[in-house]
């Protein structure tokens, strides 16, 4: 297809419709975008990759001309996107190429960041690291990574942290986006690992989106839904969201429903849905008896949540709840997807588990069109979870299971005691707290921008700016966070390095190096390997701890680590990934083509020997002990976890009468480091805004475009108002707008100035979706 024939995708976000019927294959559609003046015949090489600008992970080829990236095209044969690309993938993935990149290491001298060289920068890091190890031991070190690195990089960093240094303080910004997804699957099914698959969209006759604005967060996946809706036998869609989003509109048009519960009340709503299923007997009793545990406790817990009671708590019509439950209870194939509206809200894990419960009650798992997608917000988030660069042990191993720890110790040839496993690995929010208190004094941040993405930014800036905290920032650009660093390391970005990554669908893609990184920038993998070499980490025999040098060797090392685990990669290889396009793990000798769905047989990863986690009390996060777990004899049965609804930690009141909810929109991705530098995306959404309901706007005397001050107990932003379609009493702020492109004028625009330092007790994911604020018009 000619590049000009592709319609402008800023206005036409989801592109042209290619309708299809239930059970048919989603038609292919080749999307392509090339730099102006470049035609397809001008391209020197097409290089295999996949997009990292959202968790969809669309397969694509990168166009290279004269050693530069000049465009992308979707790969039609891939199982994820069938050739489509969204606006971010088309316009944002490569356009920042070469502009204002970090090309040399920077070090802080007399308060200023000045250019340096790799030896000097790495020396500084290693010296500080060793000093602190001598003085205070490994607990002085923290690592904060991303949902943007490649599998090989996460795994290598995981080994460095866990077997080299021996620090439990490793996490990623995946904690902010996807921790609840993992936690909910561990609680219900015993292990992380997505049960469903994107292809379930082709088969379902009811689609539930719980707090998932798919139209904006995963545009290509939403095209798939739109194509089903435009074809014969469309599914009925139900959307749960406090805003009248495109998803909510489509739901109503499909004959389904839009449920708009007050932010912070999801658990009440979910308890209500579960109760309706139970009292109306829309459940598969044989499945429940054979494959689950905990039914009577669940039944007892949800008992008080009648439609009327739920209606009162959530501020919705009781009938709507009953009707939604009926759709869920009586449709033949139901697919549910869950994202940030649940994950970043109050009682996140409990509410996400209730989605799993709905499916378990109906025996609706592992079959075409009947499944759950506990989504990710970030592309390579799945890999942090698998590889142990976040708060998990690699290969979905259980820190409380001595056999699992021993396996790792043998694999790495280190003493078991080196691997921190005395308590759950430290979560991001706690890492920042330790840094605040001064017990973490070395913080290495790679490929993420916490000075914009963390909650309560005034606090984060204060921590990053502390005298006694040594901060390393490794990134492609001089971000808001880099400004606080002691050492800045220039990193190669997507297209400039090689590696694999896995999307929310368990699909593994290989991303090849298309071009050279600018200046002295290096692949993150090379930086970690260099650190390991300079620190001289050794195994028990005195050999270097890390025995690999290249991405492909790191991948092989990871394969060994994954052997026999749910996320088994042993049947994959770089060559195989170059052959077809997109393979879903587990992929091993028995399943050489990968696995489309998990748990089709109703046997879950819950045996005490195999499970990744023994589980938690959903209300407090207290851990279930190994003894308690064994006593339950789960033996492959899933857990129906229950929790009552409790009031959120902050509710609107006299001083702060609105609930503020924040989120991503279609044209930007993680703190806009890349997307803000892509001209088309930048023009489409140059600055943030505050969306208020028409009735609230009238009361506040605010009209569209007026500058408003939105203020919480923690901070404030000043942004133009948009009269939007949030429910009255709610204000929506798009997040991840920072300050690198504002000319340094104060801190009045990042939504996270206002958000709170509070997190879910189980997943430890911060609460970005609820916070009390006041709003007033800025005069003049």
């Amino acid at each position: 297809m000619n590049a000009d024939a592709v319609p402008e995708r800023i206005a036409e976000v989801w592109g042209a419709r290619t309708p299809y019927r239930r059970g048919d294959a989603w038609p292919r559609r080749a999307d392509i975008h090339l730099e102006e003046g470049v035609g397809e015949s001008d391209v020197d090489r097409w290089v295999r990759s996949a997009c990292v600008l959202c968790s969809n992970g669309c397969a694509c080829d990168i166009a290279v001309k004269d050693g530069r990236m000049v465009g992308v095209r979707g790969r039609e044969t891939d199982l994820v996107n069938h050739g489509r690309m969204g606006p971010k993938g088309l316009y944002g993935s490569w356009q920042w190429n070469g502009k204002d990149r970090l090309t040399r290491p920077l070090i802080r001298r007399d308060g200023e960041l000045v250019e340096s060289d790799w030896d000097t920068a790495m020396d500084l890091i290693v010296r500080r690291s060793q000093e602190l190890l001598d003085e205070a031991g490994p607990l002085s070190h923290g690592f904060y990574t991303s949902g943007q690195l490649f599998l090989e990089e996460y795994y290598t960093l995981g080994v460095i942290g866990k077997a080299g240094l021996g620090t439990p303080h490793m996490d990623g910004n995946t904690r902010l986006c996807t921790a609840t997804s993992a936690a909910a699957m561990k609680e219900s099914f015993g292990s992380d690992g997505q049960p469903g698959t994107y292809a379930d969209i082709d088969h379902c006759d009811a689609l539930f989106l719980f707090g998932h604005n798919m139209a904006e967060t995963q545009t290509v996946l939403w095209s798939r839904v739109l194509d089903r809706l435009a074809g014969p036998e469309p599914p009925v869609v139900v959307a749960v969201d406090p805003r009248r989003t495109k998803v909510a509109e489509a739901a109503v048009e499909s004959g389904g429903l839009h449920l708009a519960p007050l932010p912070g009340t999801n658990q009440a709503l979910m308890n209500g849905l579960v109760r309706e299923l139970i009292v109306n007997k829309w459940i598969d009793e044989d499945y429940v008896a054979a494959h689950t545990l905990g039914f009577s406790e669940l039944e007892k817990t949800v008992e008080p949540y009648t439609p009327a009671h739920v209606g009162e708590i959530c501020g919705i019509e009781p009938d709507t709840l009953a009707r939604a439950a009926e759709i869920f209870g009586t449709s033949e194939r139901v697919l549910s997807t869950v994202l940030q509206g649940f994950y970043q809200s109050h009682q996140a894990t409990a509410a996400a588990c209730q989605v799993n419960n709905l499916h378990l009650l109906r025996g609706m798992l592992g079959k075409p069109g009947g499944g759950v997608l506990q989504m990710n917000g970030q592309p390579t988030a799945q890999n942090t979870r698998e590889c142990g660069a976040d708060g998990d042990l690699p290969g979905f191993r259980n820190w409380e299971n001595p056999d699992h720890v021993r396996q790792l110790a043998e694999l790495w040839n280190v003493d078991e005691l080196t691997i921190p496993h005395w308590s759950p690995p430290t979560h991001a929010m706690q890492i920042w707290r330790y840094a605040e208190q001064g017990s973490i004094r070395f913080l290495w941040i790679s490929a993420t921008n916490p000075a914009v993405s963390m909650p309560e930014l005034p606090r984060i800036r204060e921590i990053l700016g502390k005298e006694d905290l040594f901060v390393v920032v490794q990134d492609g650009f001089r971000t808001e966070t880099a400004e606080f660093a002691d050492v800045v390391l220039p990193a190669a970005l997507w297209g400039e390095k090689q590696g694999t990554f896995t999307n929310a669908n368990r699909t593994v893609h290989l991303s090849e190096k298309a071009v050279e990184p600018p200046g002295e920038a290096r692949a993150d993998l090379d930086v970690f390997l260099d650190y390991a070499r300079r620190m001289d980490f050794r195994d028990r025999d005195g050999d270097p701890l890390i025995g690999w040098q290249t991405p492909e060797d790191a991948f092989r090392a990871w394969q060994e680590c994954s052997r026999g685990r749910l996320c088994d990669y042993t049947g994959l290889s770089y060559d195989k990934l170059r052959g077809g396009s997109g393979i879903q793990w587990p992929c091993d000798g028995e399943r050489p083509d990968g696995t489309e769905r998990l748990y089709a047989d109703g046997v879950f990863t819950t045996s005490s020997a195999a499970c990744e986690d023994f589980g938690h009390d959903l209300l407090t996060g207290g851990t279930v002990s190994a003894t308690e777990h064994k006593a339950l004899h789960p033996d492959g049965r899933a857990f129906l976890k229950a929790a009552e609804y409790t009031a959120p930690p902050e509710e609107p009141g006299e001083r702060y009468p609105f609930v503020c909810t924040t989120g991503r929109t279609v044209y930007h991705f993680h703190t806009r480091t890349k997307t803000g530098r892509a001209p088309k995306l930048r023009r489409a959404a140059p600055e943030p805004w505050a969306e208020v309901a028409a009735s609230d706007a009238a009361e506040l005397g605010v009209t569209d475009g007026d500058l408003v001050l939105v203020e919480s107990a923690r901070g404030r932003v000043e942004v133009p108002a948009r009269i939007g379609r949030v429910r009255p009493g709610v204000v929506f702020l798009p997040f991840h707008y920072g300050y690198w492109d504002t000319g340094g004028e104060g801190h009045p625009r990042a939504a996270n100035e206002l958000t709170m330092t509070e997190w879910d007790p189980v997943s430890k994911q911060p609460l970005f979706k609820i916070g009390a604020v006041r709003v007033r018009k800025v005069e003049g």
């Binding site: 205070a136 308590s423 407090t620 996060g621 207290g622 509070e758 007790p761």
Partner: protein, 152 residues
Amino acid sequence: MHLATYLGLLHTSLNTLADAFREVGRGHGEEPDVEHTCLLLAGRIDRQTDALAPIVERYGEDREEEPERLHAAGLEGTRSGGVGLLRDLQDLYALSSFTDITWTVVGQAAQGLRDRELLDLVEDHEQETSRQLTWLRTRMKQAAPQALIAAR
């Protein structure tokens, strides 16, 4: 019958425990999870106290004559820093264990009296106490290494 003495003791220790959770929660506002969970648990202990009312009506409660040493001593204030947090959580653990065994003793009497209502109540509430203990143990295990090794 001395059940009334133990009901009185239970009542007092529940009140003490709820107060102590509130105190620790408020004293450690810098640890949002501790604050939130302590307040949540305190609220749930209040509910237990309320649920005790019909039982107390049935058997009475004797709060005056119980020997002084049967009291669970409450907290006088909270401490600061990593070790301070640990110590406060440990105090809560001791208080919570005290109510746990008190419930057990009352439960034994309920068995002897064949009082089904009281038995059900004890069963529910033992679960509640074990929730408190589990959370306290989890949180202390998490905090201990950093507080004892790395904190300055």
